[in-house]
Symmetry: C2
Subunit: 143 residues, 2 copies
Amino acid sequence: MKETLGAASGLVRLTFLVQNLYAEIGRGCDLTVAQAQMLCALTEDSLGMADLSATLGLERSSLTGLVDRAEHRGLVVREGDPSDRRVVKVTLTAAGADAVHKFHDQLTERLEKLVADLPATERERFTRTLGRLVTGVPAVFAD
Amino acid sequence: MKETLGAASGLVRLTFLVQNLYAEIGRGCDLTVAQAQMLCALTEDSLGMADLSATLGLERSSLTGLVDRAEHRGLVVREGDPSDRRVVKVTLTAAGADAVHKFHDQLTERLEKLVADLPATERERFTRTLGRLVTGVPAVFAD
DNA sequence: TATTGTTATACTCTATAACTATA
DNA sequence: TATAGTTATAGAGTATAACAATA
C-alpha cells in the first residue's frame, strides 16, 4: 500500500493536467495549442523565423505554415528586416496581442487556483522548487 | 527584481520540459506522443473505445484512427466483448507491451534524474505536493 | 431511446527534401 | 559556402456530423 506517487508519475500526470487546461483555455480564446504557444513566445519581442522555430522546437518549414495561418487570421504580421534582408520578423498584431493577453491571464488564473488550496508554506516551497527545476527552459510563458 | 518565478509560469515551463522529454523518448521508441499516451493508458488493463477515449480526453472518432494505426503497426488488437456486443476492447500485443515498457522505463529514468539533484528533503516535499495536486488525474502514467 | 463504435470530411500540425535569395 | 525562409509532399492527429448495430 503506497501513500505517495513517485516523482516521475507525478510529473507526467501534472503535465497531462496542465496540457488539458492549456488546450481548454486555448479553445475558449479561439487559439490552438500551437498558436497559443507561438503567440506567447512573441509576447516580449518580435522574432525572426529561425529564432522562433528554435524557441518552439519546430522545423522552420513547420513554422511557415503556422505563421501563415496565424497571419491569415490577423494575429501576426511578417515584416522584413532592413539589417539582413534574408530575415522575416514575426510580430503580434493588436488582435494577436489581445488574444494572447486574454489567454495568458486566464491560464495564469486557473493555474494559481490549482495551487491555491495548498497551505502557504507548502505552496511557497513547491513554487521555489519548480523555479529551480525549470532554469534554462525557454521563456515560453512569462509571469 | 524577482528572484522566484510565479507558480503559473513555473508550471507551464515544467510542462514544456516534460512534454519535450516525452516526445524525445517516444521518438527513440518509435512511438508518437499520442501513441505512447494510448499505450500507457492500456498498460494496466484492456479498455473499450469509449473508456479509452474518456481517459485520453479524445473524441471516439479520433480514437478510431489512432487505434487503426497502432493496430496496423501491431501494437494493439481489437477484440469483441461477449458481455456487450457493441463494445470493442483494445488490448496491447506483446510488441505493444514491450514498446510501452521500454518507453515507460526510459521516461521514468530521465524524470527521476531531473529531480535527483535536489536535496533529499526538498525532493520529498516536492514529490508529495505533486501527488496532492494530481489526485483525480486519470492514470495516464503509473509508477 | 441511449450507447458504442465507425465513416466521411476537413483542418491543423509536423517532418523531410528540394529550392531561392541573401550574406 | 552558409544561413533564412519557402514550397511540395506526405502522414499523423483531431473534431463535427451522420450513420449502423446493439442494449
